[in-house]
Symmetry: D2
Subunit: 155 residues, 4 copies
């Protein structure tokens, strides 16, 4: 894979749906955070991870999953109105911040236009003690694989 | 308390918010199910129950809470458009179906008009085995107290 | 296309996302209605319609779109718990009820298991007068094309 | 009213509901933005404005409402896990940025603990031209009345 072409798990698509609009006729702002989180989940999946390796579920709350990855900060900027039926391209740009946290930036584009950007900052905590801990190995692998293409990019 | 006047935990209020509308300018249909569930939670709270007695939470999934109350069926009818800023009155009508299930009907009114109705059908299951079990005592008390006023009503 | 194989716009996929679960560790019930509506939108899109032909948007509320298609009834049945990461298959079964309304049934399957079913009942109304009117031609075409495969099916 | 005691439209309450949690057993992060927006709406209402004076609705999209107030930026910080049933106090801190925009900061507290903070940045645009314009008079009045108490506060 060329370092010039982004990994396929970092380039996603999303179509805006009617229930995501409000009475002003455009996407209701907070949907972007759901989109960012779902993009993260889809990215992990395309990279090869199973949801049960990363997310607590029915059998694993307080159980076998050792690390939770809560969001401690997030933000978004909206540049152009986003409408029902818009076909958006998502560029995911994950960055490891330190041993126990990472940031995921998602750029939303419609054709050549940047329409919005969303950023999630995740922290690793031990699921029992709720204290900070290192990121799970699976997440580290995804972060490293994802950084290859961006190594020389002046972002 | 008179049997003619509904219990205060069965008469709630709700104002429709902008993010609950869609680009047709009216409430997006599935919000009604969130409203019904939140009305149920508010009703239990007003009746005197704590959320941790009824709902699994951070400390209790797979832990101390013995009974979960999943929804196995729900439906809604929409009679009139519901708009941003509408001040709705909610009438809750819970009915015990059998030892292990109950139904909650919620009538949404704007002034004297019936605008919508939503119905949730809950089943009691053991949180470990996932098999059917009797309703928790707290829910039975709420159901019984709630039925007093409706005892003679030809609903 | 064989009448035995469903049209491709009636067989969709969906992966359950983390934000769609609740503290009981499973899909929170009302998400199914969002899924049904989004499946409908995706189906129209795959069939060849543009969102702006069917849904009001920024430029068209009170404007050029003549017919709105509000939901007047919906219901769902839940048979098995649905979890984060589940890969669901959706079978869409639309039926024309009369000149001015149709029903969309969506069956959700995980492998060979039926996990849930959701039903939306849409009514055509004139966007100005809010009175009942015939379904838009585009919706009629989609309904007719969709019914071919189901003509002999004893559902 | 004392300048030391916040106006009543800037101190709100909210109880966390079950459907707002996820399978990690705590509030799913993006709910905070819905809470912020709904707090803003409730604040305007308590101050004395009607929804139809500020928000587009069924009759007014592309119609009589001259100014829309889209969000161009938002962010949130999460300090402590928020759980189902938590009774939160909300402190709203609106600030006029310039003639055509304002920021609303909402501090979420549980008892004496700060659990989260959310910030919405709104821009005034003409509903027809989509160009920037001055804030509506109603919003200016709310902003001015809201700033009295905070005039001397070193926030």
């Amino acid at each position: 894979m060329s370092s010039l072409s982004p990994q396929n798990w970092l380039l996603l698509k999303r179509v805006v749906r009617f229930g995501e609009t409000d009475a002003a006729g455009v996407m209701h702002f907070h949907q972007i955070f759901r989109w960012c989180h779902e993009a993260w989940e889809e990215s992990l999946e395309k990279y090869g991870l199973r949801a049960s390796q990363v997310f607590p579920n029915d059998n694993e709350v307080g159980g076998t999953l050792e690390v939770f990855l809560p969001i401690v900060h997030c933000h978004a900027d909206f540049r152009l109105p986003i409408k029902n039926g818009d076909q958006l391209s998502l560029k995911l740009m994950p960055t490891k911040i330190d041993l126990g946290s990472f940031e995921l930036k998602v750029l939303f584009q419609r054709g050549d236009e940047d329409v919005a950007i969303g950023v999630l900052h995740h922290l690793a905590i031990n699921s029992q003690t709720r204290k900070r801990c290192p990121l799970p190995e699976e997440i580290n692998l995804w972060l490293e694989a994802s950084s290859v293409q961006f190594g020389l990019r002046p972002l």
